[in-house]
Amino acid sequence: MNSTPKKRPPPPKTIQSDFYRLRLYIAGQTPNSVIAIANLKKICEEQLKGKYLIEVVDLLEKPQLAKGDQIIAIPTLVRRLPPPVKKIIGNLSKTESVIVGLDLQPAR
């Protein structure tokens, strides 16, 4: 794996093929939301350091955004990049499922 030591300023201007753009849908600061955010940050730092962007969408504030990604369950994590779009639901506490669900390449 090539390493990108420099931190990219979000949002990136050029998108690399292995860049992960993730969007986490939550509904207010519920325990599951807080857990999900923490879990996601941890997994990303371990697996995708320097090549990911997390966007947290609180549907209580922007309910109209739920339709675009067809959100039903909360929390839902959407892998918007790289394609194809993938969706996983839950508070991301099952790390293995998250790695499989996001199709993350194991770090070397």
Binding site: N32, I71, I72, A73, I74, T76, K87, I89, N91, L92
Partner: protein, 488 residues
């Protein structure tokens, strides 16, 4: 009763009318207001249509905006589906009377990684409800969630929460569910819905389909528990209530000629009551169609519009045959006063016939309707079905103040004669035609078996059918009217 001092304490449930013809009668005014109703049935039974009608009628007629969360069809597809009913979903959406949200469930595409709930769905629903100030909600069909959400424990508790949420918000809701093998719905939604459950059914018996609706439960309301036939046509659903009929049509005092002055004489000299129903029964060849045609011709001569449904002969056949008995109906057809509608009894189910009859009556607004004969409809289906259809039809004709004549072929000693007896109770007037051969000379006889609200003659007259038309002969003294028609 406004202004009265006596107060009847009766806490009746508030109802949200569906606007669906017949359904509001069956349910005593509509669905329970602010509650959740489950509408279940197999695929293609009409659940989604019922739900959409409830929503659109609510928005258009009752000033109650509605939200449809559709788990099966996209907004575009749904709009296209109901456009044939004259529902313009995009326009209603634009006017903020309707909000349709298509919720797509990707089967097996979602990995589950820990605890979650369905807040996303709740937020979407709440957003839709708030956007238009909705009073009505349709979830069609929430069971689709079972294919996308693997954890059924979570799903079930969330569904329970969803239904409670709808009630807390005082929304009148319809939830649809697919019928299961031995349960009302595949995933047991009926367990969560306590207030009102409606089951739809689409049966095909002897290759003829009939749709039926049943109110399985309706808490706090007395409701019809029968299965009610319903039909789906260009105007949507209409349910045919049998027992919950309100007999409120106005009885007209005006009279119409039977087409024969001698026969009018038998009925206080004035003929039938306008808006009444007349049954003509008789064995083969006794002149039932001739009598009906004669009645029709007289009505056309008065300038009235007549609608003639024939289930046996084509219109040209009838025109030819009637010319042989001195009745020239052709000019009335040309003048646009007489309309024939020929249908094969087996061409469609009873509901289809009823639909066609209703539609043509609404279109042509006739004063006289003839159905010749109802026998063929009897042959096609069970007696009960025919009777329920006729009840509805007769009631409809009376409300529209249309004088109607039904002919029915009877066979001596045949169970069909019992059908005539069953149907006759709906009819105001019953005219019996029969054959007899006194002294070896065959002749047709006619008498009025009953005619409500008048002092009719009890004489038996000879019916003379010749090239000059129909006429009644002398009173036949040697015959007495047997009131026991069904028995022998």
């Amino acid at each position: 009763m406004p202004g009265t001092k006596i107060r009847v304490v009766r806490t009746s449930l508030a109802k949200a009318p569906t606007g669906i013809q017949g359904l509001d009668e069956v349910t005593g005014g509509g669905l329970p207001k602010g509650r959740v109703t489950l509408v279940c049935g197999k695929a293609g039974c009409g659940k989604s249509l019922l739900a959409m009608e409830f929503l659109v009628h609510g928005a258009v007629q009752y000033g109650e905006p509605g939200v449809c969360i559709d788990f099966e069809e996209t907004e575009e597809k749904l709009s296209a589906n109901v456009a044939s009913l004259g529902f313009n979903l995009p326009a209603l959406t634009k006017k903020k009377k309707l909000f349709v949200d298509y919720v797509s469930i990707e089967r097996n595409q979602i990995a589950e990684t820990g605890e979650y709930n369905l807040d996303g769905l709740f937020i979407r629903l709440a957003h839709a409800v708030d956007t238009i100030g909705a009073k009505r909600v349709v979830l069609d069909s929430v069971e689709a969630l079972f294919s996308g959400i693997a954890d059924t424990t979570i799903l079930r508790s969330e569904l329970r929460r969803l239904f409670r949420w709808l009630e807390d918000k005082k929304l009148t809701a319809i939830v649809t569910g697919e019928a299961g093998a031995n349960t009302l719905t595949r995933h047991g939604l009926e367990e969560y819905i306590a207030d009102c459950v409606i089951s739809l059914d689409h049966r095909v018996t002897e290759q003829i389909s009939t749709r039926r609706l049943r109110v399985v439960k309706y808490r706090g309301t007395s409701h019809g528990t029968d299965e009610y036939p319903f039909l789906i046509d260009e105007d949507g659903i209409s349910v045919v209530p049998i027992t919950s009929l309100v007999l409120s049509h106005k009885a007209l005092k005006g009279r119409v000629s039977t087409g024969m002055s001698a026969m009018d004489e038998m009925m206080e000299g004035e003929g039938f009551f306008r808006g009444s129903s007349v049954l003509v029964t008789g064995t083969a060849g006794t002149g039932k169609s001739s009598l009906a045609a004669n009645f029709t011709s007289a009505a056309c001569a008065r300038g009235e519009v007549c609608l003639y449904f024939t289930f046996e002969e084509s219109p040209s056949q009838i025109l030819r045959n009637m010319r042989s008995v001195g009745l020239n109906l052709g000019p009335w057809v040309k003048k646009g006063l007489l309309h024939f509608n020929a249908m094969r009894p087996t061409s469609t189910g009873l509901e289809g016939h009823l639909a066609v009859i209703h539609r043509l009556i609404a279109k042509l607004r006739p004063q006289v309707v003839v159905i010749d004969p109802i026998t063929n409809l009897v042959a096609e289906s069970g007696t009960y079905d025919v009777k329920s259809m006729l009840v509805r039809l007769v009631d409809f004709l009376k409300v529209e103040q249309i004088t109607s004549m039904f002919t029915n072929l009877t066979f001596a000693g045949d169970p069909q004669e019992r059908t005539a007896a069953a149907v006759s109770s709906l009819m105001d007037t019953w005219i019996v035609l029969r054959d007899s051969k006194p002294n070896g000379r065959p002749r047709r006889e006619l008498y009025v078996l009953k005619s409500r609200g008048m002092e009719h003659s009890r004489e038996v007259r000879e019916l003379i059918v010749s090239k000059k038309g129909l006429e009644l002969g002398m009173v036949l003294k040697d015959h007495t009217v047997s009131t026991n028609v069904a028995g022998h």
